[in-house]
């Protein structure tokens, strides 16, 4: 039976009242989880997992999947409104989304974010529906050298994210990589740079770093100048205009395609994809100088890429039972709780269940759009709350987000410390995004490097002899060369390039 017929049957089952109800509950819970900083879909699915035992498998898994992709919709809210990227994937959203909010365009940014999430998320589900068996082989083609090359490609974006402040961007990235190496060595378990402190053995998580750099430094900046409110005037737009949609539709489609293909790679988190989508959009944009100052296409690209990556991640999960990230690993646990093992056997033995879940994802994306668009106005009004009231709320929710990661006070202190570091970085013209990107990629970079060198007996040529790794390395090297050339050109001809305040 072809995919169309199976999908239609899946819709028949997904539209049953119980499945619809749990898709709705999952979408609401996912949006809420996405909005709350630090509380990611992994924790939410894990918390709800025991509660789903009383349900049949279809509604339970539909709900958990909806929490996962629903969280991608909500993740942009605090990033745009109060400059708190709750997840690493929302960092590029905060770069431009918050600037749009300061211009009174927080509503349209949230609206475009929801629409782009819908468009790219639906594109991702379409890919999952029609190309899953074909594309699933991609997941198996990835070994440590390919992961290293991917991480290297990610790190090459630092040049573009640094704008004019290349040296400062590279130093910020080196600093980010170095602090991510505090703790136990990923392969040997040897303690590194812990200064004899047992607390540091577990390492430093990147989420408190992000929260400090963005949220706490923003509070400090607003307090020093006695800001009364985030918006300097009361002129606010609530919804995106047709012009906004016309300006961003191509970015949505590009981000959808990029995000979906990157989502096929296990271990490629939405954070990596969102930075890549941001960089891609900056390159193809007719106005790259707007990036970092409030580019609507940047918000569309990042949010679209997030959602498409989430959908793409279901391909290796359904085809081979390979979770592409922690949230999908917990979802895999949900399958196994019902005695189901995602993989080729599930496709032949339980096609009805599988297609019901896929159909529910189309429905879920529509539900999320309907749910999120009317909320835009409500969320956007948050910007009208006087800052002396909003400020402590930002700090309190940031502390909750950081603490809930590992339930350690250390993470709260890291938020405060990086709040001060972020403040000073802004004053001294250091770009923040390279530090974040480096901290996010550090683990993947180091682990895959060590594993690759073990495979190759210490030869770095392994990164240039395997086709996928070679492809990534070439793209990364050409991207770096282009960035350096633009830097050189800027210095010699004083050509306007990207600004460095990202």
């Amino acid at each position: 039976m072809d995919a169309w017929n199976m999908l239609l049957q899946g819709f028949g089952s997904a539209l049953s009242p119980i499945n619809l109800l749990f898709a709705l509950i999952g979408c609401i819970a996912g949006t809420l989880v996405g909005v709350l900083p630090g509380l990611g879909p992994t924790a939410a699915i894990a918390m709800l997992l025991p509660l789903t035992t009383m349900l049949p498998p279809a509604p339970a898994i539909i709900m958990m999947a909806a929490i996962y992709y629903g969280a991608m919709y909500g993740g942009s809210t605090t990033a745009i409104l109060v400059n708190i990227p709750g997840e690493a994937s929302s960092v590029p959203t905060a770069l431009d989304g918050y600037q749009l909010n300061l211009q009174g365009r927080g509503g349209p940014a949230l609206g475009i974010s929801a629409i782009s999430s819908f468009v790219a998320g639906t594109l991702g589900v379409l890919g999952l529906t029609f190309f899953a068996p074909l594309l699933s082989q991609v997941a198996l083609a990835f070994g440590p050298p390919e992961y290293f090359a991917l991480a290297f490609l990610g790190l090459s974006l630092i040049i573009s994210l640094s704008g004019r402040a290349l040296v400062k961007g590279v130093l910020a990235a080196a600093f980010g990589l170095l602090i991510s190496m505090i703790g136990l060595d990923p392969l040997t378990g040897v303690a590194r740079m812990t200064f004899g402190q047992p607390l540091l053995m577990a390492g430093i998580e990147f989420v408190p770093i992000i929260m400090g750099l963005f949220a706490v430094s923003e509070v400090l900046l607003n307090v020093e100048s006695s800001v009364k409110g985030i918006l300097s005037d009361k002129k606010i737009e609530w919804l995106p205009s047709l012009a906004d949609l016309r300006a961003t539709w191509a970015a949505m489609l590009r981000a959808g395609a990029l995000g979906f293909f990157m989502g096929l790679i296990p271990g490629c988190s939405p954070a990596v994809t969102s930075f890549m989508a941001y960089d891609l959009e900056k390159r193809v944009s007719k106005h790259p100088e707007r990036f970092g100052k409030g580019a609507m296409d940047a918000v569309a690209a990042v949010e679209g890429a997030n959602n498409a990556t989430a959908s793409g991640g279901f391909v290796p999960l359904f085809a081979f039972g390979i979770p592409s990230g922690p949230a999908l690993a917990v979802l895999l646990g949900g399958f196994m709780m019902y005695g189901l093992q995602p993989g080729p056997r599930l496709m032949t033995e339980q096609p009805q269940l599988l297609w019901t879940i896929i159909a529910s994802m189309y429905i879920g994306n529509v539900v999320l759009l309907i749910l999120n668009l009317p909320l835009v106005g409500l969320w956007a009004r948050m910007a009208l709350i006087p800052f002396p009231i909003l400020g402590p709320l930002i700090v309190a929710f940031t502390f909750i987000g950081a603490y809930s990661l590992r339930f350690q006070m250390l993470d709260i202190w890291i938020v405060v410390l990086f709040g001060v570091i972020g403040y000073l970085m802004r004053k001294f013209g250091f770009p923040v995004a390279p530090l974040v990107l480096a901290a996010v990629l550090a683990k993947l970079f180091e682990t895959s490097l060590i594993q690759s060198l073990v495979i190759s007996q210490g030869s770095p040529l392994i990164f240039f002899t395997r086709p996928i790794a070679l492809g990534f390395m070439l793209v990364a090297l050409s991207s770096m060369a282009r960035g350096m050339w633009l830097q050189f050109k800027t210095h010699t001809a004083n050509v306007a390039l990207e600004d460095s305040d990202v």
Binding site: L178, M181, Q457
Partner: protein
């Protein structure tokens, strides 16, 4: 006082070089391991050296005559006072949390912050503090059952 970007780059360069030196010394203490093709200290050492050299480069570049300088927008003395107090409020919030519990310290922090920086009447700040704590309790403690430092309260 670091008034210009030139001085800022010099200070940042010295700071980053210092961090690099400390990290290099700490990296040299990393025990060797029998397994693996890459010593656990290799990447930290490379990054430390990069920080030292990059920091030095920043300092040298800032001293160069062709460096285009710009003033840094620091707050005025009243702004510094507000900045310092906000940071002190946050540090106190974190410091008191294990002893007094998350909810009580959140209440104290939000109330004090709103009353001081917003110049609101104390009952307004009190209401916001209470509302925030109520919301956090219902969502995070009651519904999501997350474990926060309890302090004197039995939850």
């Amino acid at each position: 006082m670091i008034k210009t970007l030139r001085a800022g780059d010099t200070a940042a360069g010295i700071f980053l070089s210092g961090v690099g030196v400390i990290a290099l010394l700490a990296s040299m203490q990393i025990a060797s391991s029998m397994s693996g093709m890459l010593h656990p200290r290799t990447l930290p050492v490379i990054l430390s050296i990069l920080l030292i050299l990059g920091g030095a480069w920043l300092v040298l570049r800032a001293r160069a005559p062709q460096y285009t300088d710009k003033p840094i927008e620091w707050p005025d003395p009243a702004g510094w006072k507000r900045w310092g107090l906000a940071l002190a409020f946050m540090a106190s919030y974190a410091l008191l949390m294990p002893g007094l519990g998350f909810l009580l310290t959140t209440f104290l922090f939000t109330t004090t912050f709103i009353a001081y920086f917003g110049k609101y009447k104390i009952w307004v700040a009190f209401a916001w503090g209470l509302g925030t704590v109520g919301f956090i309790y219902v969502l995070f403690v009651w519904l999501l059952q997350m474990d926060f430092p309890a302090g004197p309260f039995p939850f």
